[in-house]
């Protein structure tokens, strides 16, 4: 790790009020400034790589709210992630990690097949039975949590159903490549279907290459940099085969990762070109706000927006989703307090650190309650899963939707 990145932290403390785990604990070890110091002291030999130190670092959500708050450009979340990645790379992947990251994640078909039992489990009514009987209590805690987070699955993954080419409606203004995220395809297929529809109705031909693979974010999380690079190169090559103006995604996590391909594959022009074309769906839709407005019909709902970390902090996108929501006639938009504070989902954090994740989620739910909204809008599948579960348990009167679902619904209203 680059030592200069560590000593750039001037310890001013501006990151402290932005950090979800500091807000919960008030502990310096649970703050971005503290994490940078821990990694730095480890590098300087003042501390050892103790279990305690790793435990402190693992409390980081990598939400990167600290990076947005830092006056001197230090990204503590990314530094911790980089450190974890390097450490895991050194110690090698475990059997299960290797299986998941190398045998499952890079192969969309296998990933889809792996979900079939889950779908069966829901369709056959087995889920209801299992939940009623409390059978999950007999399994390890993380499994019980994963099961609880899972919403109703679509009948088939979107990737299998979608046309590779969706023509533009009306006059064609350009072509976009659609990067269909794994979780979007497997779980939130309605939202991605809405994304394609919106793009097409605004005059874009939408190409969804069927052979695209996972963006590689899970590899990064697991410390598998080589796997990430391989995924990146595969996707770059696939999209290079089409002439597209933008590469669009409606998954905040994928978007953040795709935009970093140029950084991960150093001195690789095609990677830089790829990353420069990547846009979050809100960025593309906002380019055509006036046209979109003309197509929208009233949705009389009190709505608010939760900024996914991967969209607000990692990609710096805050204005566009709000502008788009305000286009919807009759929609009563209200700003959420601390809208860009993490919801506690953070990849697999909500399964690995359930206690802290729940505390952070609770704070988020409080602000949603206070906003008086009946509809919560966001743009990332991780947040959708976490907040859907949280709302279901504590605020069942509030619905949650992806931004594109709201806009598509308004178009159909």
């Amino acid at each position: 790790m680059d030592y200069v990145k560590l000593i750039n932290c001037m310890r001013c403390g501006m990151c402290l009020p932005a950090c979800p785990t500091y807000k919960e604990t008030f502990l310096e070890t649970a703050s971005p400034r503290g994490r940078v110091a821990l990694v730095r002291k480890l590098q300087e030999g003042q501390l050892d790589q103790s279990d305690q130190l790793l435990e402190y670092l693992s409390l980081c959500l990598d939400c990167q709210a600290c990076a947005s708050a830092c006056p001197c450009g230090v990204n503590a979340g990314e530094l911790v992630a980089e450190f974890t990645c390097e450490r895991k790379a050194e110690s090698g992947l475990g059997y299960l990690e290797n299986l998941i990251l190398h045998k499952l994640v890079p192969h969309p078909d296998r990933l889809e097949t792996s979900m079939v039992p889950m779908r069966m489990y829901q369709r056959t009514g087995l889920q209801k039975l299992v939940r009623r009987l409390g059978i999950l209590k007999m399994f390890p805690k993380p499994l019980e949590r994963m099961e609880g987070l899972l919403p109703d699955l679509p009948a088939r993954p979107l990737r299998q159903e979608i046309q590779e080419v969706t023509p533009a409606m009306g006059q064609e203004r350009g072509t976009v490549g659609f990067f269909l995220g794994c979780v979007m395809s497997l779980i939130f297929s309605d939202a991605s279907r809405a994304t394609i529809k919106l793009l097409s109705s605004l005059g874009y031909k939408v190409i969804t290459p069927k052979n695209q693979v996972c963006c590689g974010a899970p590899n990064m999380l697991g410390g598998d940099l080589a796997g990430l690079k391989e995924a990146a190169q595969t996707n770059i090559d696939i999209f290079a085969g089409y002439k597209v103006d933008f590469i669009v995604t409606d998954c905040g996590g994928c978007g953040a990762e795709l935009k970093k391909y140029g950084h991960h594959l150093e001195d690789n022009e095609s990677a830089e070109l790829f990353s420069s074309k990547v846009r979050d769906i809100s960025q593309v839709l906002a380019l055509h706000a006036d046209e979109l407005r003309a197509k929208l019909r009233p949705l009389p709902l009190k709505a608010t927006y939760h900024d996914p970390c991967h969209i607000a902090h990692c990609q710096g996108i805050r204005r566009e989703p709000r502008e788009l929501l305000k286009l919807v006639p009759g929609l009563d938009y209200r700003e959420l307090e601390a809208a860009d504070a993490c919801c506690g989902s953070a990849g697999t954090y909500n399964i690995e650190r359930p206690e802290m994740s729940d505390r952070i989620l609770k704070r988020k739910l409080e602000t949603i309650r206070a906003s008086g909204a009946e509809l919560l809008v966001t743009g990332n599948p991780g947040c959708l899963l976490q907040l859907k579960k949280g709302l279901g348990d504590h605020l069942p009167q509030v619905r949650i939707m992806h931004l594109t679902e709201v806009l598509a619904r308004s178009m159909d209203a």
Partner: protein, 456 residues
């Protein structure tokens, strides 16, 4: 630290709130002060003021030192401890009362400054002190350091708002000073003594501050000056014209270049100084004041003057000042931020000294700050790995402090003496000053267990 003693600390605040692992001690070994670190023996997070009193009693008996700490944003090393107990106030963070009849707020020491701002402003009231770190700094820390901020020129500093304090003394006894009364001449004024005592005289557990009505309006203005001297004269002229702006901030040429390189806010690179001016108060009055400010700036040969039409534009105008520190800090790994302060009539002379010292010692210093208060932030951009440059930076600052003292100014306007400025204090206050301060310390803390080694 003895395991039996740690056990006793745990008995007071609980195991969960007693930190003694190596990693925790390491990260409580710093605050926001560059270059200074010092390892404590334990870190405690009490949850009640009674626990604070118990900690003080225990440590007093055992002869263990206690250093109060808020969020650790101190800029003079004041919240560091060498082997003693650090007591973090974060859990004592309740806003106890807003008294709208007496116009006071009573808070616990760990309350975040901006949280108080939000609460009182929602009721049409105003607590003016706004240190740069207000989103994380604590009220206890603000009182202990007598924090200033951008609104100091018109509204004063923390000391001007402290009305009452509840302080746990070194031996655990409680001292209550002042309260909600506007007039109080009974005996020595102890509040001002405790404010800016940097944790060396007592541990605040309750703070009552004065509130004022929230100003009804605000006008933000920005002026560019090709000549530094003209900007400095404009500052004096504005005040001589009996306009007291809420904010009168200054950016020098080095800072302007850094801000423009980093944030592209549209600053010209051929000007020597930029002033950000804000007047607040009754709409009719501020309209007149803004007109006067515009006229004075133009008379002093500003090359550009803009008045914000609305809140959005005001934010844009203030962007340069808001990004000043970030822009400078990004340039080099190490940022040494100082706060030498002079009478405002000496601003131009002080800026000249800063520029000359930077040149003489071949270091980069960008200066911005509260021109209206004479409180400048010469900020040295350096690299802690370059010990030679660090030495030269300190030599430059030593000259700057000497010059500030010679002009009737001070070595620190708002960061405190702590460890960082200790060696300069005798020059400023003289032997008699140090003797009296030591006497006061002796009266409050004869065993010397409260934040030892700070100030003198």
């Amino acid at each position: 630290m003895e395991p039996s003693f740690i056990k006793e600390l745990q008995n007071i605040v609980g195991v969960q709130h007693t930190l003694t692992d190596r990693e925790s001690l390491a990260v409580y070994g710093y605050d926001s002060t560059p270059e200074i670190e010092s390892l404590p023996g334990a870190v405690l997070l009490p949850g009640t003021s009674d626990q604070v009193a118990q900690i003080m009693r225990l440590c007093h008996g055992a002869g263990v030192t206690v250093t109060p700490r808020g969020s650790g944003t101190n800029l003079s090393g004041g919240s560091l401890s060498a082997g003693g107990v650090v007591v973090q106030t974060s859990r004592l963070n309740r806003l106890l009362e807003i008294d709208e009849e007496n116009l006071t707020a009573t808070v616990e020491p760990g309350l975040i400054t901006s949280a108080l701002h939000r609460e009182v402003e929602s009721r049409g009231l105003f607590y003016p002190p706004d240190p740069g770190s207000m989103n994380i700094s604590t009220m206890g820390g603000n009182v202990a350091e007598n924090s200033g901020g951008l609104r100091g020129l018109k509204y004063g500093v923390t000391a001007d708002y402290v009305m009452g304090l509840e302080t746990v003394l070194a031996d655990g006894e409680l001292l209550c000073t002042g309260g909600k009364v506007v007039k109080d001449v009974a005996g020595y004024s102890l509040n001002p003594l405790l404010v800016s005592s940097e944790g060396t005289l007592g541990f605040f557990t309750g703070i009552t501050v004065k509130l004022i009505p929230k100003p009804q309006g605000k006008i933000t203005m920005l002026a560019h000056f090709p000549a530094l001297q003209d900007a400095a004269l404009a500052v004096s002229a504005i005040i001589a014209a009996k306009v007291i702006p809420a904010t009168l901030e200054f950016l020098d040429k080095v800072t302007i270049k850094c801000v423009e390189d980093y944030a592209h806010v549209g600053l010209p690179l051929d000007v020597d100084a930029v002033l950000l001016i804000e007047v607040d108060g009754h709409p009719v009055v501020i309209a007149e004041e803004a007109a006067a400010v515009a006229e004075i700036c133009k008379k002093h040969r500003c090359s550009f003057f803009q008045t914000a039409k609305d809140a959005d534009e005001a934010l844009k105008l203030a962007a340069a000042r808001r990004t000043a520190l970030s822009a400078l800090a990004r340039l080099k790994p190490t940022t040494i931020l100082e706060d030498a302060t002079v009478p405002r009539s000496c601003i131009a002379a002080m800026l000249k000294v800063i520029q000359d010292s930077a040149k003489k010692y071949n270091v980069t210093i960008g200066t911005f700050g509260h021109a209206g208060d004479g409180n400048l932030h010469p900020t040295c951009l350096t690299d802690e790995r370059d010990q030679d440059e660090i030495k030269r930076a300190h030599a430059a600052f030593a000259e700057i402090f000497d010059a500030a003292i010679a002009m009737g100014g001070t070595i620190t306007g708002e960061h405190g003496v702590g460890l960082a400025k200790k060696k300069y204090l005798p020059k400023l206050v003289g032997e008699s000053g140090i003797r009296i301060m030591r006497g006061i310390k002796q009266a409050f803390d004869p065993k010397g267990i409260l934040n030892p080694g700070k100030i003198f």
